[in-house]
Point group: D2
Chain length 381, copies 4
């Protein structure tokens, strides 16, 4: 609440007259964002960014509060798409997405009447940037994912902790002494690698980007092509935002008992469909499937879907609060400034980022220095 007040800066209903369409994981955490938009005056509709993560009680609660909810647990792929179209049909002024599917659907419908939007994920931003490049982006979008505070909290530390937490809950394995292979050394991979090492694991990083590979190497991790790392890993964690990262040629080289987890976006990073087609699968514990494959056992967690959301409880509340502050402030920014914003993917304005970081420091009782007048002058050159 104090966040909402600080962000609204005294205006009672800054979103009055705006219709906001959301495509989000339907959980308690995101419901807070939807309700906040409503609180600030908006009319809101909601579909799910992931058919599997819908919490029906939350959906019911939001519906009761007057939100137009198009989401239920275990939607079929067809239902999932229909729900997205329903949100478009709601004629939103502002579109807030987590993955890019809603933005894509909006563009399929010519984005009529949409003033602007926000996007939560790296993979969604990538899809929007491709649109921008080909001059097809029809409204300005703030890439909330690019907020520096989001990098720090959500991607690095938040996903780092919740990924390991998810793996420990699902498997009860022992990290100390194990070899963890981290695929991708972006912000999420950095967090996962540092924390896995901090729990006593040896870490090998795989990358396609030479600069990120170099950084992993300088951080003291082993760096290798996945084909070599496949032979050594006890656990494999994908965090690339890419498709087909772990494939049959890698499965073939793995040790008996290897564990496979994904903490990137969607469920395409590990080629689970190959395993399902070629191995016999048994659920040995909730969220742990065992495949007999080539004379050995491989364990796939949460069917290759994001392990931190499925097997653990997602991000800690502190992280969600910051993400939430970023998103809400970005929606307000679009509402206020859309007319003057170019039709491209915008970073989160620095002033929002700074304000969110200060909120977090206050919450942690951390004080910092202020530049002196002399220093400000020095900085200006």
């Amino acid at each position: 609440m104090s966040i909402i007040e600080r962000i609204a800066k005294g205006k009672r209903k800054p979103l009055e007259g705006f219709r906001v369409g959301f495509c989000l994981h339907v959980t308690k955490e995101t419901s807070v964002l939807v309700m906040a938009a409503k609180e600030l005056g908006a009319e809101v509709a909601l579909c799910s960014a992931n058919p599997l993560s819908v919490q029906d009680d939350i959906a019911a609660f939001l519906h009761g509060e007057g939100v137009a909810v198009y989401a239920w647990r275990n939607e079929t792929q067809a239902e999932y798409k229909k729900c997205i179209r329903d949100v478009i049909a709601f004629k939103p002024d502002i579109v807030t997405d987590d993955g890019g599917d809603l933005h894509y659907a909006a563009h399929g419908a010519k984005a009529r009447g949409i003033m602007g939007g926000t996007e939560e994920t790296t993979s969604g931003v990538r899809r929007l940037s491709a649109l921008e490049k080909s001059k097809k982006l029809r409204y300005p979008v703030i890439a909330v994912n690019n907020a520096r505070t989001k990098y720090l909290f959500d991607n690095r530390y938040g996903t780092g902790q919740s990924t390991l937490d998810g793996i420990l809950r699902a498997t009860g394995m022992f990290l100390a002494g194990s070899r963890v292979v981290v695929c991708g050394y972006g912000w999420v991979g950095k967090g996962v690698a540092a924390m896995a090492h901090g729990m006593g694991a040896a870490v090998t990083v795989t990358e396609v980007d030479p600069i990120k590979a170099l950084e992993a190497k300088m951080d003291g991790f082993a760096v290798a092509p996945l084909e070599k790392a496949a032979e050594q890993g006890d656990v494999f964690i994908t965090c690339t935002g890419q498709t087909g990262v772990i494939r049959k040629e890698h499965f073939a080289k793995m040790k008996d008992g290897a564990i496979l987890a994904n903490t990137g976006h969607f469920d395409v990073e590990i080629d689970a469909s190959f395993l399902y087609r070629n191995g016999r699968s048994v659920e040995v514990k909730p969220n742990v499937e065992c495949f007999k494959f080539g004379g050995k056992k491989l364990y796939l967690l949460s069917k290759g879907r994001v392990v931190n959301l499925v097997a653990a409880e997602g991000h800690p509340p502190e992280v969600m609060a910051l993400s939430f502050a970023n998103q809400l402030a970005s929606i307000l920014h679009v509402a206020k400034n859309h007319a003057s914003m170019e039709k491209k993917v915008h970073p989160v304005p620095e002033s929002i980022d700074d304000a969110v970081a200060r909120l977090a420091l206050v919450a942690m009782s951390v004080e910092i220095d202020k530049p002196t007048a002399k220093q400000k002058k020095y900085q200006r050159g």
Copy 2:
């Protein structure tokens, strides 16, 4: 199984004719030890080392397998003591304990007929050493807890991981950016501190032993008296094996929202009874009680009992397997050598420790070097 075979070294029934009395946490893990003793020929009886951790299905299973089981969930204190007496009445030759209560009861009954025993915990060993000092120890005991492999696996890494896991499951808190106060820098404290730091927390250590305090300081942690640390901590974790470590004068200085967890032995490290007498308690989540106290909220996990057993699933199986190998080999050692062992607390024989470490390395596919003939000679001087 392969462990049992290696330890039995070809003999089919090395425990034939022995009666073994166990006082252990009644869980799947320890049931393996009890069954192994039976498998090797012993007659066995079992009571619980902790009335709260009894898993009734395990107790039922063991009973069905012919074990004399005296344990059920939520025993009263009186029942707990009666169960221990029942195991003594079973007239064991060898006594295997986890805390020292069974050894104490055996001594109360003059330890008639008992050839020797083993003890699992630091606090139990401390009690037995006090007996030895006052010449009252009536049979030799192997301090399994003192095995070097146990220090490494079970106390440091095992409890380190399961303690953090327990806290994360209970609270969902965010470790990165928090201040964790670790009370006690023995093996458990070292593991908890290193891993908490590895997850992004800042760590303050409190100690009464100057050498351990120095070690914590040289490891890069802040070291302070608890009275000062109390003001700064977001989470407090006791791992001392001592009583009354966190007391009212410390509660009084804590920040609003501080979390209190114990991962030492028993439930005496945090003065929970003070909280219960003086604050209003509400269970906000399973294993999390909120106390309003002096205008602020304090959160006590699992009523001050060991958080890794109550809120998480205890040690990972790899750790249990090693502990188990140590215990079983120690029981066999007592069975074979009791006549020649002095009536004192013995360390785990080096040969057992080495053999267990080699078992673990094999399981991890780690090869190591062998000393050359020249080196062996050099070592002899």
Copy 3:
């Protein structure tokens, strides 16, 4: 040499006909860059970016090789400025600077005939950005300092290592168990903090930027205003690029025996002039001056100048080689593309950055993955 060949990409004299003016630390490492420019066809002049770091034998060597050298050890401030004017008078086409003084002088002289330039340091870039903002920048400049490979190697790991190395050589102090206060959590501060912690020190970070402060906090370091940190530190290391960071109010609160080191740019981060005016100074060892001040002793290293250059040997050769590759490739880029470049501060082109990272990975025998065709397509959206 192999670097030069790879960068020149087969062209024998890509700098033929260009005059390049350099303002650099006159050391063996930078002489390699100057000679490489000459090798590739340029006419070159050189003055020093720091009057104190000139190695006279290197200056003599370069002069012998046909470089117009305007630099000698211990230049007065007036001589230092005159040398810079001499390089301007040489009428360079391209200007390569380390700090911004040469660029400033060039602008003072209306930048006549200058096609473009490069700048090595954060503080230099800041000064150029200020010019750009006020529309006064007269030629395009590549901010070599902004290369991602430079961040990684030079600023973070290179300066991290050489700073600690410089402090250890100067003082012989014991890092384990000490409290190190790191002022500034930019790339340099991150490297210094991580490595100081890795050597067993406890670290407190001070910052003025809320996002960087948050990052330091989430990395597990203590964060505090300098006024509070001043009371606790055994060593203070400034890495801000700012002026007047450690001032008399901080000196007043420090412990007896505190050590003061600067590893930012120039010598203005620690207010050494205050110490010289108000304390009695004695050189107790090379590069270590003791000030008696308010009843205690403070130790200032290398007179507040960059400790890694003065007290140690600067960056390791691997780091210099990469920096060098970045600089040389950037000079070639300016030579080739200046006509089409806007008059602003440009980041190092991504292609240069990638190529340099690949050079480094090859040198370390590290192989990495390549994106599959399917992944490239997925990335395009």
Copy 4:
């Protein structure tokens, strides 16, 4: 001085009437110990524990102060032995050694009149324990090396820092991104491995002891036989106290440019004599010799002698002060209690260890808790 006063506990000349024979590195640090013994009333003689580390000015100074000095720089092997015999001929009551050579010589001379001694190093203690085992030890010896404070400060952190410092000064290499192979995971190896990792290196540990190997593995390091690690290392650091650790079969597998450093005792850990016999050696920098061998270059630091003493400045003064307090207190303990001590190798009495740790904490301004009366009672059981 304050240390001496605290240790002497008010007695002015507790060593009056005792003759003490020392065999130590003749450096400023150890001269303090020799002078302290004199100060406390002893007559003293001194030879060098290492012919190469003698600082002639220190030898001259001690001679001037009335110490019988038998040591000069670059003694031949014959001179070295003669000097040791001279100290025996001095008829010491107490013998303080650093390596065991003086103790051996004393036993060769039947140890006539010697009441007891102290020994500083692990390898010396090993030799004395072999004597004890074969019932040939003729006087009690305190193994100063076994002091817990010494483990912490001197072996782990002290040697850790000074070893890396020595390697950086000698080579200027870049630790971040390199692969450091640490041979031996005793206290020294643990310190070197942790700090090398803290500077950004990846670490592989080699061991012959399965428990230490397991500990290294659980600490997150790679563990491998040296034969495999030889192929990967950029730097090799021996810390085993053993002979012939790195041998020709390992040299044969190393990468071009590998660096070899020893920080154990003596100069036998790396088979340097093989290199000298089989490769061409050139000193490329002080303390760095390059061998061309099998088509590649290997770099041997400080001729295979302890790199932290030869290439850096040995331990930081804080570490030396603690070592010194341990040694002096141990000498006083022997002087006072020799009559009642068994003829075996004794650990440092716990009371000395505790007192030294408290000295160190005071020096660091660290306060710690005291056990409550209730806790003391609980601990007694």
